[in-house]
């Protein structure tokens, strides 16, 4: 006796078990779910699954211990290294061609850790890095000027955290660099105190955690933005955490945010920004801060 399904539907071809656009999200805390809902709302992806990850095109890693109120991202490190050691090898076994997007904090160090453990090329392991910091930066600039964030351009690079580097020389609207209108922009002697905007970006996470216990929506949207560039091979430029050995005088294997071209293959190119001496010094300081932690890591 055939079932209702068999009577209703006549099969013409075999089911295609391999979905075309599979994304895996590891970790279903607030951040993981915010990523999931942002991606679902924006894209019609055929399969969004966090338990069976085989043949994923992108694996988003949000798993990890949550940053406590007042705890720095760096204090989370060793706890999250242990977690990565257990989840990364099986993921890579099941999806050897995937791109891994690391969101867990401290993101720059953990992107390095995930890269080391995965054995994947460095271009395939990307940290969400300063994509969110730059989004916050542009939002705050937009508020100050009364303009939508998408029309306010500004980049934050380096560590996603306390030592991030705001590139004041590049902040512009319609190509008009704000620094040409006010050479003191971003300095301590700036009467309009634009520097405070960068401080607000750094403090954002701490403040939101104090108010609601964690952050979720903005990071979810930021991840959706990165996923879009990768999946659709857009080749947009994002400030994300990538291997910076050989750039700006850095000799060690280290992941920091710089402007990267993102597409199908992960990071295909990086944009060579001209850093002025002050910005370069800050970037190197960012690097040192992370190296100090990284060198003590036990794998």
């Amino acid at each position: 006796m055939s079932t209702v399904k068999e009577q209703l539907i006549e099969k013409l071809i075999e089911d295609d078990k391999d979905s075309h656009c599979k994304i895996t999200i590891v970790g279903i805390g607030a951040v993981g779910m915010a990523c999931a809902i942002s991606i679902l709302l924006k894209y019609f992806i055929s399969f969004l699954d966090y338990s069976v990850s085989a043949n994923s095109k992108i694996v988003i890693v949000t798993a990890g211990a949550r940053q406590q109120e007042g705890e720095t991202r760096l204090a989370l490190v060793q706890r999250n290294v242990a977690i990565m050691k257990s989840i990364i090898p099986p993921i890579v076994r099941c999806s050897p061609d995937c791109k891994i997007l690391v969101v867990s904090n401290p993101v720059d160090i953990l992107t390095y850790v995930v890269w080391k453990i995965s054995g994947l090329p460095a271009t395939c392991v990307i940290g969400s890095g300063c994509n969110l910091d730059s989004a916050r930066f542009r939002y705050l600039i937009g508020e100050k000027l009364g303009i939508h964030p998408t029309s306010c351009h500004g980049w934050i690079i380096g560590e996603h955290g306390d030592s991030s580097v705001p590139l004041w020389s590049g902040v512009n609207v319609a190509g008009v660099a704000l620094k040409t209108l006010d050479p003191k922009l971003g300095t301590d002697s700036d009467k309009e105190n634009w520097k405070n905007i960068h401080q607000q970006v750094i403090q954002s996470a701490y403040e939101i955690i104090k108010l609601k216990g964690y952050t979720s929506w903005a990071i979810g949207l930021s991840v959706m933005d990165l996923v879009g560039s990768i999946l659709k091979n857009l080749r947009r430029v994002h400030p994300v955490s990538t291997m910076v050995k050989g750039l700006y005088g850095i000799k060690e294997e280290l992941f920091l945010s710089i402007p990267c071209v993102l597409g199908w293959n992960g990071v295909s190119d990086v944009v060579k920004i001209n850093l002025n001496p002050e910005e370069e010094a800050l970037f190197k300081k960012s690097a040192e801060t992370l190296l100090n932690i990284q060198k003590d890591l036990k794998f």
Binding site: M1, T3, V4, K5, Q7, L8, I9, D15, A34, I37, S38, L41, K42, L132, A135, R136, R138, Y139, G142, K144, L145, G146, I147, H148, P149, T150, V173, V176, L178, L181, D182, L185, E192, W194, S204, E207, I208, I209, K210, L211, K212, G213, T215, S216, W217, A218, G220, L221, S222, M224, D225
Partner: protein
């Protein structure tokens, strides 16, 4: 010494105080409220979003978190405050505020606790947005939609509960799993009370217009060898199960989109059923309704079998007892 902004930007038009065209307010920033908020933002349904709650710190934190994602969104203005004045001129107000349903808590108990909350909220909403449409999500939704209607003084077509829309979505999803087709092509009706005694209209269950009962007249009954009735049971239990696992239910609100985009889609939502199916009582139960920018435009006359009408009437009796 001109400020940087003045050096950069020269205004060319008089600055006008703008009244928003499509403002949506969400009352309550718990999990359900925030799920509504992020969905509204993600689908760009509003030109202004307002959030209200009594928990000031949580409210501020949630607002900041949403605002930081502005770069990726197209909703130019978001505001949040304990004071309802921020909700002024809303087209739609989504009420998710409620005390949480405790594991195993009965509906009558939940009702009393929520009625007191609504007695404060609803008059505030009407004060600042007298022409709005109110969408009630808080549970038990049928009853609270009735309470909202009574407290607001709004005409009945402007008070809508999210009701069986969620049950309907879940039903279609589970049905789709069983049949192997996308949920949007599986059609089923769940009417009546959102929850324990919702009514599955098996006579209407179909895929692409082909009724399942045509192949198996026992579909949905106890004699059905494929046990389709189980699908409906899973929908009823899913609310309790999800509460146990996650502490709340959310992620499924698309009524607002139907209204704002004038899609004239039909949804099973609570509406006033006095005068239908032989009832003279003022009770809100889910029936398939067409939603447009003015609210609930029409109710679809569902052709129901006798046992389905009987079940619906039983819903009505039960609701009246609880009030």
């Amino acid at each position: 010494m001109a400020a940087l902004k003045e050096k950069l930007i020269a205004p060319v038009a008089e600055e006008e105080a703008t009244v928003p065209n499509n403002k949506i307010t969400v009352v309550g920033v718990g999990q359900v409220g925030m799920a509504c908020a992020i969905s509204i933002l993600g689908k760009s349904l509003a030109d202004e979003l307002a959030l209200v709650d009594v928990l000031e710190e949580k409210l501020k934190g949630e607002m900041m978190d949403l605002q930081h994602g502005s770069l990726f969104l197209q909703t130019p203005k978001s505001v949040a405050d304990k004071d309802y004045s921020v909700t002024a001129n809303s087209k739609i107000v989504v009420v998710t505020a409620a005390v949480c349903q405790q594991e195993g808590e009965s509906h009558p108990n939940l009702v009393q606790r929520n009625v007191s909350v609504f007695k404060f909220i609803i008059p505030q909403i009407i004060k600042y947005s007298p022409d709005c449409i109110i969408v009630v999500v808080s549970n038990p939704v049928g009853i609270l939609t009735y309470v909202t209607w009574k407290l607001s003084g709004l005409p009945k077509h402007r008070v809508i509960g999210s009701g069986c829309n969620l049950d309907f979505a879940r039903f279609c999803y589970l049905m789709a799993e069983k049949v192997g087709i996308h949920p949007s092509r599986c059609h089923g009706r769940i009417l009546g009370e959102h929850g324990d005694s919702s009514v599955a209209v098996w006579s209407g269950v179909n895929v692409a217009g082909v009724s399942l009962q045509k192949f198996n007249p026992e579909t949905g009954t106890d004699n059905d060898s494929e046990n389709w009735k189980e699908v409906h049971k899973m929908v009823v239990e899913s609310a309790y199960e999800v509460i146990k696992l996650k502490g709340y239910t959310n992620w499924s609100i698309d009524l607002i989109e139907s209204m704002l985009k004038n899609l004239s889609r039909n949804h099973p939502v609570p509406t006033m059923v006095k005068g239908m199916y032989g009832t003279e009582n003022e009770v809100f139960l889910s029936l398939p309704c067409i939603l447009n920018p003015h609210g609930l435009a029409s109710v679809i006359n569902q052709k129901l079998k006798d046992d389905e009408v009987a079940q619906l009437k039983k819903n009505i009796q039960k609701d009246l007892k609880d009030l």
